[in-house]
């Protein structure tokens, strides 16, 4: 069960693994991110919350340079991403190499349709990281066991439910042994009854000390699992803190309004999920 806990995860929890400083991004005249700064410590689960259009997903996609930021510095484990310490923008090759250290789970799964479940998980470790196939296969099978999909290993993604696809997506990301896992609204495209199985896998990862940044509208998940919550609105970080403080005593008016809207009734956690289109 603990096979993914790499040695560095056991190291001190206070050391910072990701730092983002002064990140800005515009699409045309629309400023989506305005001078965003935050850090993530090893083993932390940071949830990015905020209304639709607040820039959460763009921020996440800037971390691995799927979107190219206009300004700002991103450092992963001491190594700059996107722009070298000399200030030069990285080429495709360097960028690709950096990206292999950051796992990503997508809202719409983005599995490779021509490959089976097992092949999806093995693809990048074998063909990008160039690790021995036998070793990768054993690890991939163990990961599929872990997300409960070993029996589906020879099935093509098109034959899976959304929840199963997303669990494959998580196994695929873990197979890269990333230092950091990014989740871009991982349950937003799922039918409500399938959300739980994906969140359960994510809870497991968090409790095992995987470092994760999660964009989500699952307030119950953020409240229970996040080590820290970052609340964004209109491209800026409005409030950040522990889930206890954020959900029970938000200090800014915008956060209060957001919580009123998304956590309508202070009821049992199971009713707090908000289906998202």
């Amino acid at each position: 069960m603990n096979m993914m806990t790499s040695p560095e995860l056991a190291a001190t929890n206070t050391s910072q693994i990701l730092s983002v400083a002064g990140l800005s991004k515009s699409f045309g005249s629309l400023q989506v991110l305005d001078n965003i700064s935050f850090g993530v410590a090893r083993g932390e689960t940071v949830c990015l919350l905020g209304p639709s259009g607040s820039g959460k997903s763009t921020l996440l996609r800037c971390i691995n340079w799927l979107e190219r930021p206009d300004a700002g510095r991103i450092v992963l484990d001491g190594q700059p991403i996107g722009i070298t310490s000399g200030g030069v923008v990285m080429g495709d090759r360097e960028l690709s190499l950096m990206r292999t250290r950051i796992g990503m789970v997508f809202q719409h799964f983005a599995l490779w349709p021509h490959l089976t479940v097992l092949q999806n998980v093995m693809e990048a470790p074998v063909h990008v990281q160039r690790r021995p196939k036998d070793e990768v296969r054993a690890e991939a099978e163990a990961l599929l066991q872990r997300v409960g999909l070993f029996e589906k290993r020879d099935v093509f993604p098109a034959r899976l439910s959304g929840g199963q696809k997303q669990r494959v997506g998580i196994a695929r990301a873990l197979a890269m042994k990333p230092a950091l896992l990014l989740f871009d609204e991982p349950t937003s495209a799922l039918d409500p009854e399938l959300v739980g199985e994906v969140l359960a896998v994510m809870r497991d990862l968090a409790s095992e000390g995987m470092t994760m940044v999660v964009v989500t509208h699952e307030m119950a998940f953020a409240r229970d699992v996040a080590s820290r919550v970052i609340f964004m609105d209109r491209g800026v970080v409005v409030e950040t803190g522990t889930p206890e403080v954020f959900f029970n005593a938000p200090t800014t008016e915008r956060a209060q309004q957001f919580l009123l809207r998304y956590v309508a009734a202070p009821a049992a956690p199971s009713t707090l999920t908000t289906p998202q289109t």
């Binding site: 690709s96 990206r99 990503m104 490779w112 693809e123 990008v128 093509f156």
Partner: protein, 218 residues
């Protein structure tokens, strides 16, 4: 009439040699055109217009040129520019270059219709350049374009018949020489048509196999 087909039978060796050459030409041209077309499709899909536009110009030129004329240019025209081919080289080169343009255009269309998400996932997992194309972009492309690529292969088989005009000993050439030797045009040409039909059945079986693979993944 039966007697005429009996005469064709006497020349079966000639006809089968022609069939063999047609198959050889078509297979070689099909594979090369598909491979080069795949490469050319990356040019057509390039974000830089300075790269994409010359590629598109080549494709448009080929699509507006009758193959027979193009074969004439390669075999009779190029030697006046100092480029010399024998009839095999000229015929094969003409088939490949001409159909590369079609294959590229087929793959470009299929590519433009592909969902963006799996390619983006490829980027996030460290793919770029040729490796991205080969491992992530091309396989689903081939599956979805399979039937249209199959049609194009059939077109290659039929276009190879034009190469009879540069004395390439393919199937049409063989049928033609049988009819002129024995004065049995109907039987000789119908025999050739049946053999072309057999080739197309094989191509269609291949397309069906690709279609089943695509269906399993859809």
């Amino acid at each position: 009439m039966i007697h005429d087909f009996g005469l064709v039978w006497l020349d079966r060796e000639l006809l089968l040699t022609g069939l063999g050459n047609t198959v050889l030409l078509s297979v070689l041209a099909g594979f090369c055109a598909l491979a080069l077309g795949a490469l050319l499709s990356t040019v057509l899909m390039n974000r830089s217009r300075f790269i994409a536009i010359p590629g598109q110009a080549f494709v448009d030129t080929m699509r507006c040129t009758p193959f027979l004329l193009f074969a004439y240019i390669v075999y009779y025209g190029l030697p006046s520019l100092g480029v010399n081919f024998d009839n095999w080289g000229a015929g094969l080169a003409a088939l490949i270059v001409y159909h590369t343009a079609y294959m590229a255009e087929i793959l470009r269309g299929a590519w433009a219709a592909q969902p963006r998400a799996p390619i983006e996932a490829g980027m996030a997992f460290g793919y770029s350049g040729l490796r991205m194309f080969r491992r992530i972009v091309l396989p689903p492309l081939m599956l979805s374009a399979g039937p249209v690529v199959g049609n194009q292969v059939i077109q290659i088989v039929k276009d190879s018949a034009f190469l009879t005009i540069i004395a390439l000993p393919e199937l049409t050439h063989a049928a033609s020489s049988i009819q002129s030797r024995r004065y049995i045009p109907f039987a000789a040409f119908i025999a050739a048509v049946l053999l072309y039909w057999a080739i197309c059945l094989v191509v269609e079986a291949g397309v069906a196999a690709v279609g089943r693979m695509a269906e399993a993944r859809r």
